[in-house]
Amino acid sequence: MRYSAWSLLRGALSGQRHWPAAWRDASPKSSYDVIIVGGGGHGLAAAYYLAKNHGVTKVAVIERGWIGGGNTGRNTTIVRSNYLYPESARLYDFSLQLYEGLSQALNFNIMLSQRGLVLLAHSRHDLDAMSRWANAMRMNGIAAELLTREQVGELAPALDLSPQARLPVLGGFTQRRAGTARHDAVAWGYARAASALGVDIIQSCEVVDFLKENGRVVGVNTNRGRVRAERVGIAAAGHSSVLAKLAGFRLPVTSYALQAMVSEPIKPVLDTVILSPGTGAYVSQSDKGEIVMGAMLDLFPSYAQRGSFAVKQAILAATLALFPSFSRLSLMRQWAGIVDVVHDSSPIIGPTPLPNLYINCGWGTGGFKAIPVGGWTLAHVLATGRNHALAEPFQLDRFITGRLIDEAAASGIAH
C-alpha cells in the first residue's frame, strides 16, 4: 500500500486498521540469484537497488537477529559528506544526494533533517586545518563555509563561547546540507521497498558456513538450512571478519565498540549538529528532544555491544566542556555498535578472494551516512560482476598495493 495523505484520511474512517505489515517476514527458499548476508541498512539498501536498478528480484537478505538491530539502530544518525579526498567526496556526497531523495524514492518518511553540521576550531592550528578542509570540499564541488566565532554562536547559542571556556571556540566551518535522519526509518523504508519488489527478508537466520564448489561460493549454510545462490554479498559491519573466517580469508579489519548515548528529552536547544574534532565530541538534539552524544572509540577490540565507562566519562566530559548547561541532564540510554575499522578509515566494496563472494565493509565509525551508496555500489557489483565507478578506488587490494585513501588523517575525524 502506498503511504500518502489520502491513505491516512481513508484510514480515519476505518479506525486506521487497514495498514498491512510494511514488509513480508520471509522463510528461506532453496535458492536465489543473490543472497545478502546482513540485514542492516547496507544489506537492505543493496537488496532494494538490486531489484530497483538491476531488475534482480530473486534476492534474499539473511539476518542473524532482526533487521536494523545492529549498527543501523546503534549510531548517532548523522549524515554528511565533509571528506577530504576526491574519491571519498564523490562517494559520500552521492550518498547524501540519495538521502535527499530517499523519502520520495522509498515512499517512507526517513525524517531527513538537513540542519547542518558545525565543526569547531579550538586553536589557531584547528582554524588552519579547517580552512584546508573546507577548501578541499569546495574543490570537490561540495559546499562548505568557514565560520567566525560569532557565526558559530548564532548557529549554536548553547555553546560555551566565553574566552575562559575550557575549549575556547575560535571559529569553525559548516556543511549546511549535512544533518540527521531517522535511523530505524532508513532500515524499515529500504526493507519495505525491497520487499514490495519481491526481495525475501529473512530474520533470525544465522549463516554458519559458505557453500563452495570448485573453489567458488554457491550459497550459504544457515541454522535454517542450506540456501544456494549465484552470488553472495556480505554487509555485516563489525562481524565482517567472522564471516570472512567462515569463507576462509582474512580482512584488514579490527572490530571496536563505538558508543553513544542520549539524555532525557528537553525543549529545543540545539538545531544543528556540533562536532569538535579536537575532543571527538559529537552532539545533536533528536526530534524527540534528547541530547545525542557520541565521540571516540573504545580503543581495544570488542564484539560486546556496550561501551566502557572510561570512554563514557571522556565523552561526557568533552560534551560538558562545550555545553556546560547540559550538566544537570540525566542520561537515559547508552549503547554501542561494533564497527569495522580499517587502517585508512575508508570502506571496502567489491570482490573478495573467493569467486562469487562480494563484500561491503570497513565503514568504521561512519557507516550510517553511507547506507544509500553502500547499497547502491554493492548491488552494482553483485548484479554485473563489475565494480561501480564510485567503488573502484575502494578495493581490498589497496592494502597490498599501498594505495590507501587515508581519511583517518585527512578529515580529522575521531577514530
Partner: protein, 87 residues
C-alpha cells in the same frame, strides 16, 4: 571501570593503559613480496573470542606486556611477558 592486570603493578583502571595491537606478529624479511607485507601490516584475524594482545601501562610503570582477552566478555584470562611465547 574495567580493570587491567599490569604484569608489574597488578590490577589498575583501564584508563591508565594503552592497547597496542595483536601480539606475536612476526615482521617479515625485507625481501618479501607486497602480499606478505600487506598481510603483516594490515590483515588481522580479528577474532570474536580469545585474542592475544599487547598492552602498555602508559600512565603507570610504563611496562609493555601481553595478555589473553575475550573480545566478547572482555574477560582477561592470562598475562605474560612480551618476550614469552603464547601460553
Amino acid at each position: 571501570m574495567m580493570q587491567v592486570p599490569c604484569i608489574h603493578c597488578g590490577l589498575r583502571d583501564e584508563s591508565e593503559f594503552t592497547y597496542a595491537g595483536t601480539a606475536h606478529l612476526a615482521r617479515p624479511p625485507l625481501d618479501q613480496s607486497d602480499e606478505v607485507w600487506g598481510e603483516y601490516l594490515f590483515f588481522r584475524d580479528n577474532p570474536k573470542g580469545m585474542h592475544l594482545e599487547r598492552w602498555r601501562h602508559t600512565q603507570g610503570c610504563g611496562r609493555w606486556f601481553n595478555l589473553i582477552r575475550n573480545t566478547v566478555t572482555h574477560e582477561i584470562s592470562s598475562v605474560y611477558a612480551v618476550s614469552d611465547p603464547p601460553p
